[in-house]
Symmetry: C2
Subunit: 267 residues, 2 copies
C-alpha cells in the first residue's frame, strides 16, 4: 500500500475515525476476500498498512483506509498498538519537522524464512486465521520511505529508508536503526522493485539525514488505555497516536547517536 | 503453467530430452530469479510443471520446458520420479485412449495450511532452498484437467478434473480419486480462477467419465533406475516414462471401482 503525505495533507482535520468502519473489499471475488469474521477472536489486530491518521484530510479518504485490503493481522500489544504506531508517527514527523515537504511511504507484509536450529534448513512458517483458514499472518512488515527535498521535482534528491520489523512485540527502547535494511532485501522478499526510476545520484540515506529513533509518548499510551476501557478501541481497532502534539519534541532532532551496526537481514 | 495436448502433438517425435538442458529464466530480474545453484544439493528434484514428455513435437518446445520458471522443487523418490510421473502419464492417456481429442492441463504449486495438533492453529510451513534461501518448496501441487469433447468447439462439453497432491512420497497403490478436490478449492488456494468462462451446462466431471487411477509400469521404473545408474538422470533431472507404450493397457479403461469418498481438502 502506497501513500503520500505533505504538510497540507497532515494539517487538514476533516475526518474522524469514529465515523470509519472496518469493511470487506467488495471489489474482490468472495473466495479471495478477507472477511471481518476471519479476524474475530483470532487474537490479532486488524492492522492498517496505510495508517488512518495519515488520511485526516477527508472522511472518505480515512474511510478507505478501513477496507480489509489495507489490513493485515498484526500483533496488538507491543506492536500495532505500540512500536508500530510509534514508527507511523516517526514517518509523520518527517513532514511535521519541516525536513521534507513531501514524503511517500510504501507499507506491506512479508513472509520471511528462518533457519531451523535443528536441521539447519530455512523455512517460512506463518499462521492463517479464519475458519476455514483464510487470511495469512505476516511474519514481518516493511516500510519503504521516500523523503523528498522538493515536491514533484525531477531533479530533487530523495532520502530513502527501508525497514523491516517482525510482527511481534518490540521494546520501545529498541532503536529504529536496528530495523533498517538494504532496499534490495525488501525487493527480494516482496518481489517488487521500489526505486528503479530513481537515479543513484538522486538518492540519499534517510538514516544519515535524520535520527532513526522512535518517539514514545507515554501520555498517549495512557489515553489509549482509557479509550480501550471506554470501549472505543476494542477487538483490534488501531488506536492512533493522539492528535495533540503540543510540546512534543521531534524524533528527528532528538535521540542519541545511531546504535549498533546494521544487523543481518535474514533470520 | 498451462499446456494443450492433442493426438497430433503427442504423436510427433521431433525432440529428445538428451538435448535439453535446465536453464535459468533470463527474462526475470536477477533478484527474483531461481538459480541452478539453488537446487544443487537441496535434496529436491527440479520438477517440471509442464512435462517434457508432453512437448516432443519440437526440440524448441521441449527445451522451453527446461526453464527454471517451469520448475518447482519436488520430492524425487516416491513422487516426481514415481506417482507424479504416473499422473502425468494418466493425462496423456486421456488423449491416447481416444477419449478426448483435446486436453488442456494447468499445473502449479500450492502452499497449504495444516492444523497444528498442539495449539489447533492453522499454519503454512515450507522450506526455502538456496543460499541465501531463494526458491520455495511447495507443500502441494495441483493439476486442473480439461478433457474436451471437441477441438475449439464453443458448445462442446468439457470434462473437468481438479487434483491436489502432497509434495511427498505417495504409494502407487493409492487411487488418484483420493486426490480429487472441488475446483473451487484450488481456486481459493491459488488465487486464480480456472473455468469462469465455461458455462455450467458444458461441464462434466472427469472422474465420472474415466477411471481416475494411475497406471504403474514397473518395467519403466527398472529402465529409469538403469538410466540413473548410467548418469543420465542424476541430481534432479526429471525422468519421464518410457515412450515405448506397446501392449500397455489404458488407465482409463482399466482399474477397479472408485475408492473411498473424496476426502476433506484442508489438512
Amino acid at each position: 500500500m502506497a501513500e503520500h503525505i505533505t504538510p497540507a495533507s497532515l494539517a487538514a482535520n476533516n475526518a474522524n475515525r469514529r465515523y470509519s468502519f472496518f469493511h470487506e473489499d467488495d471489489s474482490l471475488p468472495l473466495p479471495f476476500r478477507a472477511k471481518l469474521a476471519d479476524y474475530a477472536r483470532s487474537g490479532y489486530d486488524r492492522g492498517h498498512q496505510v495508517p488512518a491518521a495519515d488520511a485526516k484530510w477527508s472522511q472518505e479518504a480515512m474511510d478507505s483506509t478501513f477496507v480489509l485490503t489495507n489490513m493485515c493481522p498484526q500483533v496488538g500489544d507491543g506492536f500495532n498498538r505500540d512500536y508500530w504506531a510509534h514508527f507511523e508517527e516517526f514517518c509523520r514527523e518527517l513532514v511535521y519537522s519541516g525536513k521534507y515537504p513531501s514524503v511517500r511511504i510504501v507499507t506491506g507484509p512479508l513472509y520471511l524464512p528462518k533457519k531451523d536450529p535443528v536441521d539447519q534448513k530455512w523455512r517460512v512458517s506463518y499462521e492463517v486465521i479464519g475458519n476455514p483458514p483464510n487470511v495469512a499472518v505476516p511474519t514481518h512488515f516493511y516500510k519503504v520511505i521516500y523523503g523528498e527535498d522538493a515536491v514533484e521535482s525531477p531533479v530533487g534528491r530523495v532520502a530513502l529508508g527501508a525497514f523491516v520489523l517482525p510482527n511481534a512485540p518490540i521494546a520501545n527502547q529498541k532503536s529504529l536503526r536496528d530495523f533498517e535494511v538494504p532496499l534490495e532485501a525488501i525487493e527480494r522478499a516482496s518481489g517488487m522493485t521500489f526505486a528503479d526510476k530513481l537515479p543513484l545520484e538522486r538518492r540519499k540515506r534517510l538514516c544519515e539525514e535524520v535520527k532513526c529513533e522512535i518517539l514514545v509518548r507515554e501520555f498517549d499510551k495512557a489515553k489509549q488505555q482509557a479509550s480501550v476501557r471506554a470501549g472505543n478501541a476494542k477487538q483490534g481497532a488501531v488506536v492512533g497516536p493522539s492528535p495533540d502534539r503540543s510540546g512534543v519534541p521531534s524524533p528527528i532532532t532528538r535521540g542519541g547517536p545511531p546504535t549498533s551496526e546494521q544487523k543481518g537481514f535474514w533470520g
